[in-house]
C-alpha cells in the first residue's frame, strides 16, 4: 500500500520526468526490436515499421501505462480544470454574475454564522461550561418575572443543595479605581467566595476571596484581571499585598485572574468581595433580590438541572413554612428557577438570531437557485457541442465530470471571495451593535468560521452539480444535434426545470421580503411608542456618592440640592433633577409598596412596582406629564410629612375610582405605623422603564430622595437647544462641587432609547439588506431565463413577425411567460409567508404575523422587480428584425 502511494506520488509529482522516461523506454524497445529484425534481414524502414506496429498504438500503450500508475484521473481533472477555466474566462458576464452571487450569499451566511456561532453555539469559555447554571427568583403573579437572588438565598443554599458542587453570587457595578485621588471609573464585579472555582477558572496568582472577607469589616481586598494588572501594575510579579484605591479607600490585592478571563459580557477589570452585614442574611431579606445580585452554580457531574430544581423547590417549601409572609409570597407565584447559564444569557436574542440565520439561508437558497439556472442555461448553450462530442465517443462520465469540475472551480472561487465579504460583514454587524448583544464580545471571524464556510461551499457545489449533471446526462446526443440544428424549443425538461427554479426563487424571495417587512413594521411600531417622557433635549449621567464626604443620606441630599441649584443657574439649562434610577438605564429591579387600608381581592396579590427616589426638578427635567395634584420638588426632601407621587398605572390598579390623591401607602410589603405612611400628592403619566416594547403596567412610586436614598444617582439635565453643551455644564458643575466624583454614562435620553431598540433595529436592517439582495438576484434570474428563451426562439419570432405578428403580440407572449411564473411563485410564496409569519410572531411587536399590508407590499415589490426583468427581454423580442433573425442560422 505504502509502496503504491509512493509510486503514485513520484509519478504525479515528477510528472514531466515520468513522461520522458516512459517515452525513452518505449523508444529503446522499438530500436532494439528493429535492430533484431534488421539482423534477420529486414530493411531499415520495414524493420522500424514492424517494430512500431507490433508495440501497438503508441498513445494507447502510454495511456495504459499511466493508468497502471493511477495517473489517469489526475490527468482528467487537470485537463477539465484548464478547459473550464478557459470557458469561464471566455464568458466574463456569466462568470462575474456567478462569482458575485456566490461571494455575497456565502459572505452574508458566514457573517450570520459567525454571530450565531459565537452567541448561541459555542460553549461559554469555561471548563465544562454546560454544567454552569443560574438561579433566580420569580414572582410572576406579582408581575415580577425576574428578581435575581438575595444574599439570604446564597447563605441558605451554600452547601445545602446536593446537586450543586458550588454556589456563588455576583453583581455588576462601577467604582472609582486607581491610586489615591484617581477619578477613573472602572467596571467592577462583586463576587462571593468560590465564584472563580464555580466557573472553573481560578486566579492565576494569589487566591479567591475568603469567607471572612464577606464581612463588611474585613472586605478591603481586591482581585485584578490580567489586563488591569498588566496596564496598571506593569505586570509586577509582587503585586499581591499591594494597595489599590477603590471608591476612596485602600484595598489589598489578593489575586490576579488568568489572561483573557471574561465573565459573560462584563467588562469588569476589578473584582471585589460581595460583602454583606448580618441583617442582610436574615430570612426577612430572603425576597429582596431586586434583580441586582445574581446566583450561579456548578452542577455536580452526575446531577441534572431537574434534580437541582427539585432540591431548590423542596428547600424553598421548607423555608417558607415558618415565614409570616408565606401566603403572600406563594400568592405571588414565587419560585426559584434553575436554568442553564448560557441559555439564560442568550434567551432574549435567540429567537431573533435564529430568524436571521433562517433569512440568510433563504438568501443562499435563492442565490443557489439563480446559479443553478445560469448553469443550466450555459449547459443548454453547449448542448450541441456536447452532443457532437458524445457522438464522437466521449463518455457521459467524461461530460459530467467536466461540468462538475466547472462547478467546483466556480464555487471554490466564490467561497474564497466570500471570506473577505464575511470579514467585512462581521465588521458591519459589529458597527450595528452586535458587540452589545449578550456574549456579543465573542464574535470573531476565525478558523472555525472559515471551516464552516468551506463546508457551506462544498455543500452548495454538490447541490448545484445535481441538476446540471442530470440535465447533461439526460439530453441524448441525437436530441441535442436535432434540436440544436433547428433551434426550436429545445429540451423541454431543461426549460421546465429553469422555470420551476424561477417559481421557487419568487416564492422564497416573497417569504424573505415579508419577514423583513414584518420586522421593519414591528420596529416602526416600537419607535412610535411614547416613552412617557420627552427624550429630546435631555441628558442623564450617573454619579456614585462614595467616600467619607457622604456618610449619610442627609449628606447626599445636601449634595443633590447644591448640584441642582448650580445647574439650573446656568444659561443653557432649563431644568435639572436627580433620581435613583432612570428609564432605559438597564436597571429594572422592582420593589413593593403597600396601600393603607387596601384589602386584597381574591386572586389579587402583592405587586412589584418601580420605586424612584427623586430630588430637584426631576419631573420637569424628564418632561413627564402631570395627571393630577402636583410634582415633587426640591423642598419635599426637607418636609417633615412624608409624601409621594404615583404614576397612573399604579393609581389605576389600586384606586380604580380615580381617587388617588390623599391616599396613603407604605414602602415594602407590610403596612406600618401612620408616621411611616406616604401621602399621594400627585399622579403622573406612566413611563417605560425597561424599553419601549415593555408591556408591563406595573406602576411606579416616586419618593423624595431622602426617603429612598441611594449612593448611586442619576442626574437629568434639560436644555432648550442642543444636548452637547449640557454635558459640559454637568461636568463643570460636578467638578466645582466635588472633583473626586466621577461622572459615567452621560448620554442623551434619545440615545438611550435608540440603544434600547438595538435588538429590533439591527435585525430589521440586516433582513432588509438580505431582502434587497434577494430581489436583485430574482430580477437577474428572471432576466437571464427569459433572455435565454428569447435568444433560443429568435427564428420562431422572426417567422412570426414576417408573417405579420405585431410587436405587441410578441411582447405579450414573453411577458405572459414571466407573469405565469410570477403568479405561481407568489401563490406558493404567500403560503410560505403565512407559515413564516406564524413562526416569527413571538419576536414581533404590535404587528400580526399575517399583516396583509406587509404581504401586499412584499408581493408588489417582487412583482415590480420581476416585471421589469421580464420587460427588457420581451421588448428585445418585440423589436426583433425578421431578416436578421432568419439570416442568423
Amino acid at each position: 500500500m505504502l509502496a503504491r502511494v509512493r509510486s503514485w506520488w513520484r509519478a504525479a509529482a515528477g510528472r514531466r520526468e515520468f513522461e520522458s522516461s516512459m517515452s525513452a523506454e518505449l523508444e529503446f524497445h522499438i530500436e532494439q526490436y528493429a535492430e533484431d529484425l534488421m539482423r534477420a534481414g529486414a530493411g531499415k524502414q520495414e524493420a522500424y515499421r514492424r517494430a512500431r506496429m507490433e508495440l501497438g498504438g503508441r498513445n494507447s500503450v502510454e495511456e495504459d501505462c499511466r493508468k497502471a500508475r493511477g495517473l489517469q484521473w489526475l490527468d482528467e481533472v487537470g485537463r477539465n480544470a484548464r478547459f473550464s477555466a478557459r470557458l469561464l474566462r471566455k464568458s466574463p458576464a456569466f462568470t462575474t454574475a456567478a462569482l458575485l452571487t456566490l461571494a455575497l450569499c456565502l459572505g452574508a451566511n458566514l457573517t450570520i454564522f459567525a454571530v450565531v456561532d459565537a452567541i448561541l453555539v459555542r460553549p461559554l469559555p469555561f471548563p465544562d461550561a454546560g454544567r454552569l447554571v443560574t438561579i433566580f427568583n420569580t414572582y410572576p403573579k406579582a408581575g415580577v418575572e425576574r428578581d435575581g437572588s438575595s444574599i439570604t438565598n446564597y447563605y441558605e443554599r451554600r452547601g445545602k443543595i446536593a446537586a450543586f458542587r458550588s454556589v456563588s453570587m455576583y453583581a455588576f457595578g462601577t467604582a472609582v479605581v486607581g491610586g489615591a485621588g484617581s477619578t477613573a471609573v472602572t467596571e467592577i464585579t462583586w463576587v462571593t467566595p468560590e465564584f472563580f472555582a464555580t466557573l472553573g477558572r481560578g486566579p492565576a496568582r494569589g487566591r479567591e476571596f475568603s469567607d471572612a472577607e464577606m464581612n463588611p469589616e474585613a472586605d478591603r481586598v481586591v482581585i485584578l484581571t490580567d489586563e488591569y494588572w498588566r496596564s496598571h501594575f506593569a505586570s509586577d510579579p509582587s503585586v499581591l499585598g499591594k494597595q489599590i484605591w477603590v471608591d476612596g479607600s485602600p484595598r489589598t490585592v489578593v489575586g490576579v485572574l488568568p489572561r483573557g478571563f471574561r465573565f459573560l459580557s462584563s467588562k469588569a477589570e476589578v473584582y471585589l468581595p460581595l460583602s454583606s452585614s448580618a441583617e442582610r442574611r436574615t430570612p426577612q431579606e430572603r425576597h429582596s433580590g431586586g434583580n441586582v445580585m445574581q446566583m450561579i452554580a456548578r452542577l455536580r457531574p452526575d446531577a441534572t438541572i431537574e434534580q437541582a430544581q427539585a432540591e431548590i423547590d423542596a428547600q424553598n417549601a421548607a423555608l417558607e413554612r415558618d415565614d409570616p409572609k408565606a401566603k403572600m409570597i406563594a400568592d405571588a407565584g414565587f419560585r426559584s428557577l434553575v436554568v442553564s447559564l448560557h441559555g439564560d444569557q442568550v434567551a432574549t436574542v435567540r429567537p431573533v438570531l435564529l430568524l436571521l440565520e433562517a433569512g440568510v439561508l433563504v438568501l443562499l437558497l435563492i442565490g443557489g437557485v439563480n446559479l443553478a439556472n445560469l448553469l443550466l442555461i450555459r449547459a443548454s448553450g453547449r448542448l450541441k457541442e456536447i452532443a457532437v462530442r458524445r457522438a464522437l465517443g466521449a463518455s457521459g462520465r467524461r461530460v459530467v465530470s467536466e461540468v462538475l469540475v466547472e462547478i467546483c472551480l466556480l464555487t471554490l472561487a466564490g467561497g474564497v471571495l466570500a471570506m473577505p465579504v464575511g470579514v467585512a460583514g462581521v465588521r458591519l454587524v459589529n458597527a450595528l451593535g452586535a458587540q452589545q448583544l449578550p456574549l456579543g464580545a465573542y464574535i470573531v471571524f476565525d478558523a472555525r468560521v472559515v471551516l464552516a464556510g468551506l463546508v457551506m461551499t462544498i455543500v452548495l457545489g454538490a447541490a448545484l452539480a445535481v441538476p446540471v449533471a442530470w440535465f447533461n446526462l439526460r439530453s441524448l446526443p441525437a436530441d441535442g444535434l436535432q434540436s440544436a440544428s433547428r433551434t426550436v424549443t429545445t429540451g423541454r425538461a431543461g426549460q421546465a426545470l429553469r422555470h420551476a427554479f424561477i417559481v421557487a426563487q419568487v416564492a422564497l424571495g416573497l417569504v424573505l421580503l415579508t419577514g423583513a417587512g414584518l420586522l421593519g413594521l414591528s420596529l416602526k411600531r416600537a419607535m412610535e411608542v411614547s416613552p412617557g417622557f420627552r427624550a429630546d433635549h435631555a441628558i442623564a449621567g450617573r454619579v456614585s456618592l462614595v467616600g467619607n464626604r457622604y456618610p449619610s443620606p442627609e449628606a447626599g441630599r445636601e449634595f443633590t440640592e447644591r448640584l441642582v441649584k448650580d445647574l439650573e443657574q446656568r444659561p443653557g439649562v432649563r431644568w435639572a433633577g436627580i433620581t435613583t434610577n432612570i428609564p432605559f438605564s438597564g436597571y429594572n429591579g422592582m420593589s413593593a409598596a403597600t396601600v393603607k387600608g387596601e384589602v386584597l381581592r381574591p386572586g389579587q396579590t402583592v405587586r412589584g412596582n418601580y420605586s424612584y427616589g427623586v430630588a430637584g426638578d426631576y419631573f420637569e427635567a424628564m418632561g413627564m406629564v402631570l395627571r393630577a395634584g402636583r410634582f415633587l420638588n426640591a423642598e419635599d426632601s426637607q418636609r417633615k410629612e412624608r409624601i409621594c407621587v404615583v404614576d397612573e398605572d399604579f393609581a389605576r390598579y389600586h384606586w380604580p375610582q380615580g381617587n388617588a390623591l390623599g391616599q396613603k401607602l407604605f414602602q415594602g410589603t407590610r403596612p406600618g405605623s401612620d408616621a411611616e405612611a406616604f401621602t399621594v400628592v400627585g399622579v403622573v403619566g406612566s413611563v417605560k422603564q425597561a424599553g419601549l416594547t415593555d408591556e408591563g403596567t406595573q406602576g411606579a412610586v416616586y419618593y423624595p430622595y431622602i426617603y429612598r436614598p441611594d449612593s448611586k444617582i442619576f442626574i437629568v439635565v434639560r436644555g432648550s437647544v442642543r444636548t452637547e453643551p449640557l454635558k459640559a455644564d454637568l461636568q463643570s458643575a460636578l467638578r466645582q462641587l466635588d472633583p473626586a466624583l466621577a461622572l459615567t454614562g452621560t448620554e442623551a435620553m434619545s440615545d438611550r432609547i435608540a440603544e434600547s431598540l438595538l435588538v429590533r433595529r439591527s435585525p430589521a436592517l440586516l433582513a432588509a439588506l438580505f431582502s434587497g439582495m434577494a430581489v436583485l438576484l430574482i430580477a437577474i434570474g428572471v432576466y437571464g431565463v427569459l433572455s435565454y428563451s428569447v435568444a433560443q426562439r429568435q427564428r420562431e419570432i422572426g417567422i412570426r413577425i414576417a408573417l405579420g405578428a405585431g410587436p405587441v403580440e410578441i411582447r405579450r407572449q414573453f411577458l405572459s411567460i414571466g407573469l405565469r411564473l410570477l403568479a405561481a411563485g407568489v401563490a406558493i410564496g404567500l403560503g410560505g409567508a403565512w407559515m413564516m409569519g406564524r413562526a416569527i410572531e413571538a419576536v414581533l411587536f404590535h404587528v400580526s404575523g399575517h399583516s396583509a399590508a406587509v404581504l401586499a407590499e412584499a408581493t408588489g415589490l417582487i412583482g415590480l422587480a420581476a416585471l421589469v426583468a421580464c420587460f427588457l427581454p420581451a421588448q428585445k423580442a418585440a423589436t426583433t428584425s425578421p431578416v436578421r433573425a432568419l439570416a442568423a442560422e
Binding site: 509502496a3 503504491r4 509510486s7 503514485w8 522516461s21 525513452a24 523506454e25 518505449l26 529503446f28 524497445h29 530500436e31 532494439q32 526490436y33 507490433e54 508495440l55 501497438g56 498504438g57 494507447s60 500503450v61 495504459d64 501505462c65 493508468k67 497502471a68 500508475r69 493511477g70
Partner: protein, 114 residues
C-alpha cells in the same frame, strides 16, 4: 515455426516476475527472456508488456533502474523486489497445484480408476 501459445489471462504477471527473477532485464529483454525460457512457445503481445511492467512496479513487486544495455545504450532495467520474490513463490505454487489438479482431471480415463 509453430504458432505461439496464447497466454492465459493472469499468467503474464507471473511470467514477467519469473523472467526478471533470474537477472535484471529491460523491457525488450523481458520479452526475449520469456520467449527463450518457454522454448519459443510463448510470445506475449508487446502492447500489453509495458502496462504490465508499470503495474508491477506500482505494486512494488519489481523495481526499475536506469543502466547501460549490451550495446552501450541507456535502458531501464527491472529487477525483482523481496515482495516480488514472495509473490512469485506463491503464484508458482498456486499454478503448480492448479496444473497438477487439471492434469489429474484430464488424465482420468474411467471413473473406476480414481
Amino acid at each position: 515455426m509453430a504458432k505461439p501459445a496464447e497466454i492465459l489471462p493472469g499468467t503474464l504477471d507471473m511470467l514477467i516476475l519469473k523472467a526478471v527473477s533470474l537477472d535484471p532485464l529491460h523491457g525488450y529483454g523481458v520479452l526475449l527472456r520469456i520467449r527463450q525460457i518457454s522454448r519459443e512457445a510463448i510470445d506475449i503481445p508487446q502492447g500489453s508488456l509495458y502496462p504490465a511492467l508499470y503495474r508491477l512496479e506500482h505494486q512494488g513487486l519489481i523495481a526499475a533502474e536506469w543502466g547501460q544495455s549490451e550495446n552501450n545504450r541507456k535502458a531501464k532495467y527491472y529487477k525483482l523486489t523481496a515482495a516480488g520474490r514472495r509473490r512469485l513463490r506463491e503464484e508458482t505454487a498456486g499454478w503448480k497445484r492448479l496444473t497438477s489438479a487439471i492434469d489429474a482431471a484430464l488424465n482420468t480415463s474411467s471413473l473406476e480408476e480414481s
